[in-house]
Amino acid sequence: MSAHLLSLIILIPIIGSISLLLFKERQTQSIKNVALAFAILQMIFAVWLVVVFDVNFGTQMTDAFQFIEKVNWISMDVGTLGTFNIAYLVGVDGISVWLVFLTSFIMLIGIIASWKLKQQVHSYFMLYLLLSGSIVGCFVALDFFLFYLFFELMLLPMFFLIGLWGGPRKSYASIKFFIYTLIGSLLILIVMIGLYLSVKSPDFPEGQIVHTFNLIHMMNPDNFIPGSALAMDTSWTLFGMPMRWIAFLALLLGFAIKLPVVPFHTWLPDAHVEASTPISVVLAALLLKVGGYGLYRVAFSIFPEAAVHFGTMIAILGVISILYGGLNAMAQQDLKRLIAYSSVAHMGFVLVGLGSLTVEGASGGVFQMISHGLISAASFLIVGVIYDRTQDRTIENFSGLATKLPGYTFVVVLVFFASLGLPGLSGFVGELMVLMGAFQANGGQLILPLWIGGAVIVGILIASAYYLWVIQRMFFGKYWVREERWLVAMKDLDLREWILFTPLIVGIVVLGLYPKVVLDAMGHTMQLFITHVAYYGQLASQP
């Protein structure tokens, strides 16, 4: 059974989504129970996956994948285009295994967070489970076509989940989200076809050219057909740049919109603010990670020399995101918008980490993705708590909540401190490692200017400023809320909310105190990844 573990993790929510068709609209409680059951089942398999995962597997980037499953899916003859070979190919390495785990964990949390949903429960959970399946699929796909398929399949349920169950400007936000992300994914599509036509499968004898979408084959520059548009020694240029650089930039832009990177981030605050709480959680904790994961899996691994060339630029983009996102967050009146902008800032760390191209920096970037997955989920749930009680989330409208809601305040302080990078909590580890990477990359072949590290530190300071300011304004001082009627509703966390927060807080603390759990498992993969990028990056720079 463990041979089909990944397929099970993808298929369980999708089967769940289809099985919900058997229920009638009014059986809301049964629908919720079934959805929960499927999410728990998926979670069990995800835990199993992490347990049986071998951390020291593989000797190089291209053979470090485990639990590989391959089924030929589409194979058709299209004239001189050759044969289209599209395979269902899945597998995990030390990075994606954690993202799969994070996905099933957050999706489970999201179902509990949606427990009180009243309207159109049926279609909500069908879309939700479909979304869950496609996110996992994206993290485990090793065939570019399959990856792209899941990447786009995510958009549609998300579009409806924001647009049907969101706030007042939900339709605007959902369309904006859809169109922005679609532009990114279409750029990826163009590169995907170009890569397909440039790569031949090594599984066939010499001389026989069979194109492939296999991402693992694409990572090995020896599999590129000599003279093809995207081969290492390409003579093709576009706008005066080598074709490979253009392709890398297109991928970068595609994933940067998803991540999001300033200045392509404007869909994010709108989508977050309008989406309902559980959807914001999924959006922040998982969908943004797809962008970072795509950079790691596709852009950097396939175009290592372009990654080396543009490394500094990527780190600078990350710094801009950190500073701009942080300053914007500081200016927000709406608590949810503040957290949305802080997400932009946190994703900047991922970019700086990846751009540094050091083991510490890149591991820090990925660790930051996982830690932000937990922290942002908790942050949006925090907003959800206050919004459920008052239908309001303006920071100014509350004061001194600590006296009235001590449990809630404890959670908020802990989560916000984790987010601003207090040592001992998970946010600190990721940020520290990114910083180490950024300073280490100054010198040698990878040249990040020293001021990048300095600017990152300023970014961390800004984060402390706005989080502490929020805590001070909302939770300290004299107890006061804007409307009389809210006084009745202001109760401390109930059992369901404690169930939501406890695992997230445990995760944040465990990752903060003992990051080895995750770092060990991905350290080996990261080492292979950096070696791969550095080796081929160096190879290309030699004349």
């Binding site: 589409i74 194979s75 058709m76 003859d77 299209v78 004239g79 001189t80 285009l81 289209f84 279609s123 792209y148 398929l149 786009e152 399949l153 958009l155 549609l156 579009f159 409806f160 647009g163 049907l164 939900k170 339709s171 369309i175 859809f178 169109i179 679609l182 532009i183 279409l186 750029l187 599509l189 163009i190 076809i193 170009g194 397909y196 036509l197 093809s228 548009a229 576009l238």
Partner: protein, 465 residues
């Protein structure tokens, strides 16, 4: 060849056009049945039976027949099934006031013209076939007999007449240059090149490529919806098939011609997507979408190698369009459907809304629908052509074609958007079970063709020489 030999040839080859003969005779039969006041259901069943018979009778022979005027090959074989199939679905649309025996008589005669277009190997035969499709189309457009319909019909007729005149002028130049009307006699000389370009005007008009698209929005808006579904599929695909056939005969095209075709294609995509943005009428929106799709199909006619991609695109295009128009026709009560008519229906008919999401995103070209596969092959083909020729126009086509999907997403998604996101309306609509089934089958086939696109190849038989 003396008369007797000619008669013998005709007698021998007559079996090869049996499906066309059945359709022609059957169309007459429809007229006679109409005189005897056969009810509409009987007429429709008769037409459906005819179409099934015609598909069954398509010959599995290939080669040139009728003194080389008629060609049969893989493509004609497959399109001779596709076009009657599409017509069959249109016949199964919901009952409406304008439908009568004359309507279906005209529809089937247009189909006969289209089927002759597919196989024509002689400019004169081709011209007659094109005129046969055109006359019927002009009449079908005006079948609602109201102001909009008549306007559309006249517009279509005037544009059609002019383009037909230009086309026959092109044919006369071609005859002058080559001293023959057979396709294979074509030699590339300056005069025949001009003749060919003029001739293409007629085909580009049929396929509504910019700048010959002007009739399209008015016709789609004014014509009865089932007629639009028919016109947007049958004559258009036949037009593209002819274009494909002729361009492949010319062989190595001058780069200038390729660039010209790409510019027309890019122009259609841009104009179609931008034009659709602000439409309030669903059919008008789809008409601009159809112009954009024409821009997508046009480059597929350029190379022999594109056969796979061409085949997939037209088959998927046919399914998508017929589905979309069936959906709209089911929502019609009197006159056209505007987006605001559909507001809030999703609460009462969630399944219908779900189907609309599927065909809409298929028209945009997103997974998991067949529309994505169609576009995917198209852009792969374009990449190959770019790599082979290094022409910047191909890259421009790829980038503009791919990015136009984002704009397309905005206007195609408006229908599901109004269906689900707008406040509830008190409009009462009931759908017949049979039509729901038909719509579901069509929509499911869009998903199925995404999962198993190779299925289309598996059904193709090996043709006898």
């Amino acid at each position: 060849m003396d008369l007797q030999q000619q008669l013998i040839t005709i007698q021998q080859d007559l079996g090869l056009i049996s499906s066309e003969i059945v359709l022609m005779v059957g169309a007459m039969g429809l007229l006679i049945a109409g005189l005897f006041k056969v009810p509409l259901f009987g007429i429709k069943s008769m037409a459906a039976g005819l179409l099934v018979l015609a598909m069954w009778l398509v010959p599995t022979t290939q080669g040139l027949f009728f003194d080389q005027t008629l060609l049969r090959d893989d493509q004609t074989y497959f399109l001779s099934h596709l076009l009657p199939m599409a017509t069959l679905v249109v016949v199964m649309f919901k009952f409406q006031k304008h439908q009568n025996y004359e309507f279906y008589f005209l529809m089937i005669s247009v189909l006969v013209g289209a089927m002759f277009m597919l196989g024509a190997n002689n400019f004169l035969i081709l011209y007659i076939a094109i005129e046969l499709t055109s006359y019927g189309s002009y009449l079908l457009t005006g079948f609602r007999f109201d102001r909009l319909g008549s306007e559309a019909s006249i517009k279509y007729l005037l544009f059609g007449g002019v383009s037909s005149a230009v086309m026959i002028f092109g044919i006369s130049l071609l005859y002058g240059a080559n001293l023959s009307l057979y396709f294979q006699a074509f030699h590339l000389t300056p005069m025949s090149a001009i003749g060919l370009l003029l001739f293409m005007v007629g085909l580009l008009f049929k396929t509504s490529v910019v700048p010959f698209h002007l009739w399209t929005p008015a016709t789609y808006e004014g014509a009865p919806t089932d007629a639009v579904a028919f016109l947007s599929v049958v004559p258009k695909i036949a037009g593209f098939a002819v274009l494909y056939h002729i361009l492949s005969l010319v062989g190595h095209l001058h780069p200038f011609v390729i660039d010209l075709i790409l510019i027309l294609a890019i122009g259609s995509i841009i104009l179609g997507t931008l034009g659709a943005l602000l439409q309030t009428d669903v059919k008008r929106m789809l008409s601009y979408g159809a112009i954009a799709h024409s821009g997508m199909i046009l480059p597929l006619c350029l190379f022999e190698v594109a056969l796979g991609a061409f085949k997939y695109y037209v088959i998927i295009y046919a399914i998508m369009n017929v589905t979309a128009f069936l959906f709209i026709q089911l929502h019609e009560r009197e006159g056209n459907v505007s987006f605001s008519n559909l507001a809030g229906l999703g609460a009462k008919h969630p399944f219908m809304g779900f189907l609309s999401v599927i065909w809409s995103i298929s028209l945009v070209g997103l997974p998991p629908t067949a529309g994505f596969i169609a576009k995917f092959f198209l852009f792969s083909m374009a990449w190959v052509s770019y790599l082979a020729s290094g022409s910047g126009y191909w890259m421009a086509f790829i980038v503009i074609g791919v990015l136009s999907s984002t704009v397309a997403l905005y206007f195609y998604l408006r229908l599901p958007y109004f269906y689900f996101f707008k406040p509830k309306s008190d409009l009462k609509l009931t759908f017949h079970k049979m039509h729901m089934l038909l719509l579901t089958v069509l929509t499911i086939s869009l998903i199925y063709l995404f999962l198993q696109p190779d299925i289309l190849d598996k059904f193709a038989p090996i043709l006898k020489p």
